[in-house]
Amino acid sequence: MRVALFVTCLVDGLRPEVGKATVALLERLGVPVEVPLAQSCCGQMHTNSGYADLARPLADAFADAFVGYDYVVSPSGSCAAAVRHQHPRLTDKRVPPVLELSEFLVDVLSREDVGARYPHRVTYHPTCHSLRMLRVGDRPLRLLRHVRELELVALPDADTCCGFGGTFALKNVDVSEAMLADKAAAVLSTGAEVCSAGDTSCLLHIGGGLTKQGTGVRAVHLAEILAST
């Protein structure tokens, strides 16, 4: 089984720890993962902002970068969804199955217990595109429930968007901030030390808000928790 990591440009440039954790986790589970260096960005921001013409070559390049693998795994539900749902409209090139991390662990590796230990109180934001485009369901929660010493607390109104929405956060900054304020309040109401999610973009938004407010709650990617021992 040849597995490639689609690390995403955001993780590559801003949160490399998430990529390292994903590699560490997969290797611990016996999956030798490769990182095709021709990869960059899936073009989701361009597509969603109305620049399909600029996204088209990125979709082509994505297909070229990952040709020949059995699976492509990504620590981002949103980017995986962009490839699965948007790329077929942008390019005729076919790509191997692109799976979000929790899908790959639960569906392909049939693992819910990945041998992790994480002694913290954690709440989980399920992220819109993982929930409603990929339909990952409760896979991330099943994985978290098997993490030793982790106390999982339910997030109120979990399936409500955090207000990021790509360029929405800039174009409609006031609405975005109002949504972020409500999400941050929901996180704080749980008393969790850590807010986790399967998407770095949402975590930069929620975590950025939690830090700016000086709450002390940390935003930690699902991969980082699952990689911890």
């Binding site: 690390v7 440009c9 590559d12 440039g13 801003l14 490399p16 720890e17 990529g19 390292k20 590699v23 990182v35 260096l37 960059s40 960005c41 073009g43 921001m45 361009h46 969603n48 902002s49 109305g50 620049y51 399909a52 600029l54 070559p57 990125l58 390049a61 749902h85 948007q86 819109c128 595109h129 929930l131 409603r132 485009m133 399936d159 409500t160 968007c161 207000g163 990021f164 929405g165 790509g166 360029t167 929405f168 956060a169 800039l170 174009k171 409609n172 900054v173 006031d174 609405v175 975005s176 901030e177 109002a178 949504m179 409500d182 938004h205 975590g207 950025g208 808000g209 830090t211 700016k212």
Partner: protein, 464 residues
């Protein structure tokens, strides 16, 4: 690719100021935020229960979508069948290209009936064309008889929700409006919902009994029989549809279903999606004119107002499936925080963000396609499965971008396409500042940036 079919874009109340600016005003209103949060949460929960009861909900959704698509594909034929059936049943059919034509037709009909007032059934389409204002300009008073529409009208306000037009008002605000505007209201009226409703009821009863002309919209029209259908909750619609001598119904051309049997699907999905009820209290159906029973003159005004132009776009036409249930408004995190007025159109929320720009032409409604995070909650609840997020993305491509944004996007795409430039950009990540310059400062004013990493993931990968 769109095809020009010879019909212009829509006119009327379909566009307003830029959404970000209008949204900012709405967000500053704490009372509005509280009212909306409470009201949408209540309807959301009711809908979830009512929909959860049906084991075949997904089939009903798919069926509704397929019925609407098939109807839209042959809309011209069905409309002519409807016209023939309505005419055969004693009604008169009028065709209106846009808001102005429809308003002129209705005004002429009311004047021909010798009336200077009309009672109205709650109707989105007459809000769309601004009928009340057009009638007022001709010296004709239009009385809204739906309780919430009455509140909006008496408050000299605008509806902010498709189904619950006064969702932005709470009961104490409603009390104030009634005391100010209804002559028979006691000064010491308290904000008890039953008392408020009783006062409105007495006020409206006079109008029902005196008005000689009624104006309605329509939820459905059955082409094969020429039957019109209005679903409502208060009985005011039934009053309007039966008491006056003349009934004028204004209907968007997409409201049509081919056969009586098609109603079976929508009469299940509409009430459950909109009010969270298994069945709405009043479903009125009428076919032309029945001698000695009900209105003795019936007019049907078929309105285009941008619908044919919408139909011409294969990637946008599914918006015409909409049955105006407003489930998408109630689940939308953007709508919940801004309310309907920020959208500037009588059609707010997610469906408004895809429908309004298509009816007016995107160039006259540039900010609505961006009034969404693409979270997808709207698509999940839509009873006719309109993929609103994908349609929003499609419409965004038609909005001419600001030059600076286009430049930035082109630069980013160029970086992403070149491994060398991409590596250089990642290397620059270590110089991530604590604050960003405008317009990116909109990000940092409420979100801290992450710690700048010492090396990119790929730099680590290559060296490990």
């Amino acid at each position: 690719m769109t095809t020009f079919l010879g019909m212009p874009h829509g006119t009327g109340n379909l566009a307003g100021g830029p959404f970000p600016r209008e949204a900012r005003k709405a967000l500053a209103d704490d009372q509005l935020r509280a009212n909306l949060g409470r009201a949408t949460a209540t309807i959301r929960a009711k809908r979830a229960v009512a929909v959860g009861e049906l084991p075949d909900w997904e089939e009903l959704r798919a069926g509704g979508a397929a019925l609407k698509d098939a109807t839209l594909a042959r809309l011209d034929e069905h409309l002519l069948r409807l016209e023939a059936a309505v005419t055969a049943a004693g009604g008169v059919v009028h065709w209106a290209r846009d808001a102005e034509e429809a308003n002129a037709v209705v005004t002429r009909l009311v004047q021909a009936a010798g009336a200077d007032e009309v009672v109205k059934v709650k109707s989105m389409v007459t809000q769309e064309i601004g009928l009340n204002e057009a009638l007022a300009a001709a010296g004709i008073a239009a009385w809204e008889t739906d309780l919430a529409e009455l509140i909006v009208q008496l408050g000299h306000d605008k509806p902010s929700h498709i189904l619950v037009p006064a969702i932005h008002k709470n009961r104490s605000e409603i009390r104030d409006i009634f005391v100010r505007e209804i002559p028979s209201a006691p000064r010491d009226l308290i904000d008890d919902p039953a008392l408020l409703a009783a006062l409105a009821r007495a006020h409206l009863r006079e109008k029902f009994l005196s008005a000689r002309v009624a104006v309605s919209g329509a939820n459905f029209a059955v082409a094969e029989t020429g039957t019109l259908c209005v679903v409502e909750s208060e009985g005011n619609g039934r009053m309007c549809l039966t008491l006056p001598e003349v009934l004028i119904t204004v209907m968007g051309i997409e409201k049509l279903v081919p056969t009586w049997q098609d109603l079976e699907v929508f009469l299940q999905t509409l009430p459950r999606s909109s009010t969270g009820e298994r069945m709405n209290p009043y479903t009125s159906m009428w076919t032309g004119v029945t001698p000695g029973d009900g209105p003795q003159e019936f007019h049907l005004v078929l309105l285009d107002n941008g619908r044919t132009a919408t139909l011409a776009d294969p990637d946008g036409r599914a918006a015409l499936r909409c049955i105006r249930c407003s489930a998408c408004l109630n689940v939308c995190p953007v709508y919940e925080r801004t309310g309907g007025h920020a959208y500037g159109s009588v059609y707010p929320g997610p469906i408004g963000a895809v429908l309004s720009p298509q009816l007016t032409g995107v160039e006259d409604n540039r900010t609505l396609p961006f009034a969404s995070t693409l979270c997808g909650a709207c698509y999940d609840v839509c009873p006719v499965a309109i993929d609103i997020p994908t349609m929003l993305v499609h419409l965004r491509q038609q909005v001419p971008p600001p030059a600076a944004e286009r430049l930035a996007m082109t630069a980013i795409a160029s970086v992403m396409r070149s491994p060398r430039r991409y590596r250089a950009a990642l290397w620059l990540g270590r110089f991530l500042p604590r604050r960003l310059p405008p317009p990116l400062s909109r990000w940092t004013r409420s979100r801290a940036l992450p710690q700048a990493p010492r090396q990119s993931f790929r730099a680590w990968w290559v060296r490990r």
